[in-house]
């Protein structure tokens, strides 16, 4: 699985970080999303999929390997 996040769309809601904290974070200056693990291990996949659904502005994209 490959994870990308569109910072142009991101509204700094942090839903992704709270759902999958090993994969996403937010920058402290402006709260924009940061992908900290772009190829998360299988154990994280369910949480990452949930983050994608939760993102209020559809800024998270997943590419299934």
């Amino acid at each position: 699985m490959k994870v990308t996040a569109d910072t142009g769309k991101c509204v700094s809601s942090g839903q992704c970080v709270l759902t999958a904290p090993d994969v996403f974070d937010q920058r402290e200056e402006d709260g924009l999303v940061v992908v900290i693990d772009a190829e998360p291990p299988p154990a994280q996949h369910a949480l990452v999929r949930e983050s994608e659904l939760q993102c209020p502005v559809a800024a998270i994209r997943l590419l299934d390997a």
């Binding site: 509204v11 700094s12 942090g14 839903q15 709270l18 974070d25 937010q26 402006d30 209020p56």
Partner: protein, 404 residues
Amino acid sequence: MTTTEAPHLPFDRRNALEIAPLFAKLRDRGPLSKVVTPAGDLAWLVTSYEHAREVFRDNRFGRSHPEPDTAPRISDAALLSGPTGEFDHEERDHKRLRRMLAPAFSAPRMRALGDHINELTESCLDDMRAAQDANPGEPIDLTPLLAFPLPVMVICELLGVPFEDRDYFGSLSERISILDGGTDGETAMEEFKAYTLALAEKKREDPQPDVISDMVAVQAEDPTFTDDDLARQAAGLLFAGHETTSTRIALGTMFLLSDLERRDRFVADPEGQVQQTVEEILRLSATSATGGLLRYAREDVEIAGVRIARGEAVLVSSDAANRDASVFADPDEFDPTRAPNVHIAFGHGAHVCIGANLARTELRTVFPALFRRFPRMRLAVGIDEIVVRNDKIAGGVRSVPVFL
């Protein structure tokens, strides 16, 4: 639209843990229904999950109105009852606000705040213990000892508001959120703005690492962000820290205590279960007395085959959407093992609640701490005896009597 046959909000519900059965009945008839708001005006009520998300994401809906004086209203409260902001630059103003607030509510700041929230929680739990010891055999009320003071302390800290003023701004918060508050609500709102503006003046001289200081800094660079904007936003945030999380702490405790096996399951491993338990509490705890979050159509829009005319009001019911059986199996059941649990308790789209992470951080701290300290806690009265506050914007309950 005509008022004939449209049901009147707020709808009756049996107790604080359920929502009015009418929401599901309306959803069965269609995703959007005409309703009469508590203010007596007509609005569209969205009860389906799919369409709630659609409306939240659609920028043809906003919080401002092309002709604010004629806009349908949802209540006579001084807050969230009618149009807010300027129709012509709503999007610009909203973006500026998000940018201004995002750093303070970001995950790194929430992590930094975590230990402190822990300490505040423990001190509230000490107070609960002391109250019970002072009156053994008598129930204690969780609301004034934990559910209310904890979120207020946290929001004070984040905004840079003196906690000592809590009785004063607490009563202002109360007055602006009464649904038929009328002119008293307006007076309280003006007082509230004067209070936050006075705080801003102090921070202009002596900036601190807090949100009101951040706002003052933004204002120095952007004069279109007026004193009135600043005062209103600060009051709105301070108000939000009172009602929303507080209601969730109260209702969450009631959910966990309404079935002692459920309580015991949580007590067996609070840390391990808290994340999903909090999401389920958020999904099920209905906190809207007004029916939903208010939007106005900025132009004519068609949703689910329904034509919504420019300027009409739309109430998006997260409470109803979160119990939509097409998305959540057995939607009225409290099931902390649900996965995924993509509820919209904080809204959705660009306006999604900026305090969501703060609320989650508080809730994820409070429930394990509470049940680790008082694993045998139980309700002192039946659920049906705990009165829902239908006269306040956020619904909620006045008291939660428990034995520790």
